[in-house]
Symmetry: C2
Subunit: 138 residues, 2 copies
């Protein structure tokens, strides 16, 4: 045991907060931010309201690489809606006219994501350097 064991209680509390069930908010939301598309969707929705197809197009353009599939876009939007981060409003039946916006909660999440992105970007020099060092000894 090389680590100080005082503070185990505090640690345990934090780990419990992180969530032992897979769908506990903390774990679920962190998984969202870490997945392939959610953060990008939040960034785009941060600019205002978008309809499904537009959102798909913009994501394709701006993220370059390959487009998000319609299935996954719907899936991610559903998840975000369920957790209260985006609002979905329908006007028109055939053809459907659905638009998505961030809720206040969603704007808070976006802010968190942007903070994180900012920090990582500031550290990307050191990170790349560490990788280069590590890969060199291989």
């Amino acid at each position: 045991m090389t680590a100080p064991r005082d503070g185990i209680a505090a640690l345990a509390a934090q780990m419990a907060a992180h969530g032992t069930e897979r769908d506990a908010p903390v774990r679920a939301v962190m998984a969202l931010l870490g997945d392939r598309w959610t953060t990008l969707i939040l960034l785009v929705l941060g600019m205002g309201a978008w309809r499904h197809a537009e959102l798909k197009r913009v994501l394709a353009q701006l993220s370059a690489e390959q487009a998000i599939s319609q299935r996954v876009l719907t899936l991610k939007l559903r998840t975000l809606e369920r957790d209260g981060f985006v609002a979905r409003s329908v006007t028109g039946d055939v053809p459907p006219r659905v638009s998505y916006t961030l809720t206040a909660l969603g704007q808070g999440l976006l802010a968190q994501a942007q903070g994180l992105i900012g920090w990582i970007q500031e550290q990307s020099g050191p990170i790349r350097a560490a990788r280069a060092r590590f890969d060199a000894d291989a």
Copy 2:
């Protein structure tokens, strides 16, 4: 188009920052925080230095549910080491005696993770409420 299109440039910059390649630091690190174990490992390493087997045991105890497999623990530690977040030091050959600690960079990452966890936890009430509402209309 329901969204304001001014600011597309700024958006594009942010999305580029987020990374178009899968291993760009921003995307990679956010994926790390979102995965099953990395954040928990950071929390534990935040308390000091740990040897591999101890770390495995503590994770098992504190996260309750099932233990991390040895394979994955090694894998995650390698990734964190490669990116410069943890330092690995070996003393002794057979049996090996390996201990892991956070680097300064890793402590920074831990702080980010804790900030995020804190925010999500504060919002977990509204999130759960939103879920309940959503699931009710199903």
